[in-house]
Symmetry: C2
Subunit: 456 residues, 2 copies
Amino acid sequence: MVPATILARIDSQKQRYINELQDFLRIPSISTYSQHIRDIRRAAEFVLSHIRKLGFQASLHETERHPLVYGHLQTSPEDPTLLVYGHYDVQPPEPLEEWISPPFEPAIRDGCVYARGATDDKGQFFTYLKAMEAIMDVRGSLPLNVKILVEGEEEIASPSLKPFLEKHKTELSAQVAVISDGSQFAHGIPAITYGLRGLSYFQIDLTGPRIDLHSGIFGGIVTNPIQALTEILYHLKNPDGTVAIPGFYDDVIDLEKWEREEMASLPHDEDALRSYLGIDELAGERGYTTLERKTARPTLDVNGIWGGFSGEGAKTVIPSRAGAKVSMRLVPNQKQRRIESLFVDFVKSLAPRGVRIKATTLHGADPVLISRDKPGIRAAEQAIEIGFGKKPVFLREGGSIPIVNWFKEVLGLETVLLLGWGSPDDGAHSPNERFHLDDYHRGIRAVAALLHEDLV
Amino acid sequence: MVPATILARIDSQKQRYINELQDFLRIPSISTYSQHIRDIRRAAEFVLSHIRKLGFQASLHETERHPLVYGHLQTSPEDPTLLVYGHYDVQPPEPLEEWISPPFEPAIRDGCVYARGATDDKGQFFTYLKAMEAIMDVRGSLPLNVKILVEGEEEIASPSLKPFLEKHKTELSAQVAVISDGSQFAHGIPAITYGLRGLSYFQIDLTGPRIDLHSGIFGGIVTNPIQALTEILYHLKNPDGTVAIPGFYDDVIDLEKWEREEMASLPHDEDALRSYLGIDELAGERGYTTLERKTARPTLDVNGIWGGFSGEGAKTVIPSRAGAKVSMRLVPNQKQRRIESLFVDFVKSLAPRGVRIKATTLHGADPVLISRDKPGIRAAEQAIEIGFGKKPVFLREGGSIPIVNWFKEVLGLETVLLLGWGSPDDGAHSPNERFHLDDYHRGIRAVAALLHEDLV
């Protein structure tokens, strides 16, 4: 249990912590734009000097794009080790004209700090540095071993991270990892994300006649690749909204009773959601609530389709080719490799005569489910209650976080804590990104508490 | 019956007729390219001076793009009137590097003249001028009234023709029209085209959520517009290859016995067709031969489709919109207006909840069927036998020729003779376009014969 003196120290330093975060936010470390390469490096060095000041042995690791910051602070080999992940790069701020205050001149308004990176991820990551600083200030050492890994390429899909993990596998070994790069369920409803959906993403290419044909001359005698494609895609789902691939549901674990109860207890405004989406009616698999369908049930979406003529007016063509991008969101315990082969077999079996078909995997990730009974999860629950004055809710998320899969696959880490300090309406990736100052403060308190709980 | 003296005159002038056609072919009257505007006018004036020399009262009619040439030569108000249509503009010649001899330097090889426009349509149209010249040379007058209409915008979809017909309706009145802008069934198998398919062409636009959504966050709760579209498109056809729109076949007239026999008697190499198309298997409606399916049965093709992400790699998006171009080939007596409303009703009935649908007509034409018993058809049959030394076969074509519909709709012309003098492998619109000199000569003879038959 975190000593009260440490929490008191955090409370007393509130304003200074805000000032220092603003210094971090002033650096336009936009990883997408090559003209910001020096700002990126400045941000990496900002992090490096901070953690060195805390006593970490740390250095920059060069990659083909932007450097990784890695450091560790060992208390005792007998203590457990926590791996903290964050990223110092930010999204481009455009459209600039929509910002009320400039994206790299952090401004305080309505109890929030507004700046690009405020929540994603500078602000959330910075809570770890400030919490450790407070602990060092009060007791002179950390209660466990900490490793810190901060990358500068998260917003460009982390191309260097997995190779880095593979190369430094032993060095990076830990019992638990923690990532604060998401959000609470809602502002004031803190959450622990214990499940992520996986992904199996394909491109389908169909070829019919070797050249585009005139539909007047050849209409009626050839299989049209677009129509063959629509036939295949149509048969991927059943009329009841389920996925029609044989064997697709074999490994799906049913939601547990407590999970369904937990989800049902969360505030949810279906009208507001429909109105946000601009649709009259939600859709999907029967027998599951909206929240269940979007986070804990597998699904299939066509993400893109093309073929033939799409310009203005009429062109009477039977195209030679057509294609689509199709992806499936997977849930525990579906395995991406197995789904991949079920998908390819089924799609090939659906192809009508007169066309050739190719299905290519573009991306894949297994789903993630962390048992609520893991000590790390229990510790996070306790820490959040201390930090936020409220028990967290348990959430699954509908997307994938590749980093979580890599931590699991490469480092063998079973417990990756996903603890979002931000709020869902903080505007990550949007103009006027912000971070509630109370969330920042509560996050620092929660981190201090987490480091004092039994993680293993 | 054409006097033998006229045919003899035609035979004796063979070489001069070739030379004069070459003069016509030298003019690069490419209607698509504005830099050829003076060449276009030169070609129009070339035609104008030719028909004036024949004794026609003729002039150029300006349009927003390229002038129409119109002339008439009246023998007696009691005689029937034939309206001859042709076009003096040509397709762009690109790719230039594939031409063996330059496109606008007509070259004679292997019994053919090679040049852009050789068959489409300068060469075929020129047979009318040379036949009339021969008749005038021998007997000093034509056996009937002739009106000639030659446009310079056929290769750019004839934007001025229909307005011109509407404006000059009375002036253009005739009993029969004739167009030689196609081909024989095969070189040496002359044909009369007595049927054309119609067209009903739509764009379908679907809108789901008001913005593109992340498939991780929203996958499983919204109707995906691409999937809604594939569902709609899939249901437009039945598994047996027929069109599934209720009422679609109501007005279709069955092929007559003689038509099926005529088609069955034509040489047809299915293996060669498959190999040309690069497909293993032909497709389409059961119970009909390939030739029947592509010319005399209605069909439906998706001509284009789009939606979501089509770039390289993976993007996990549920798009806000998706769309397609869909067209139907119609056969007698389907009416485009009726099909249009059946299609729109059916498509709307197929739209799943959660998407909005819009179906827009882009183009339409009624099918055409000219009775074999019309005197004009009998006359053409006779004329072709004289010109080509062989009875023509009777053909339907799978495409539409808007001009034929306009002649019918605007001028009330029931008999439009479609008499192709070219060969299907002459390469209209392709590099090394050509016209067989024997077809040119036989075409001139056939036209001379046609003018002497009883057209009404």
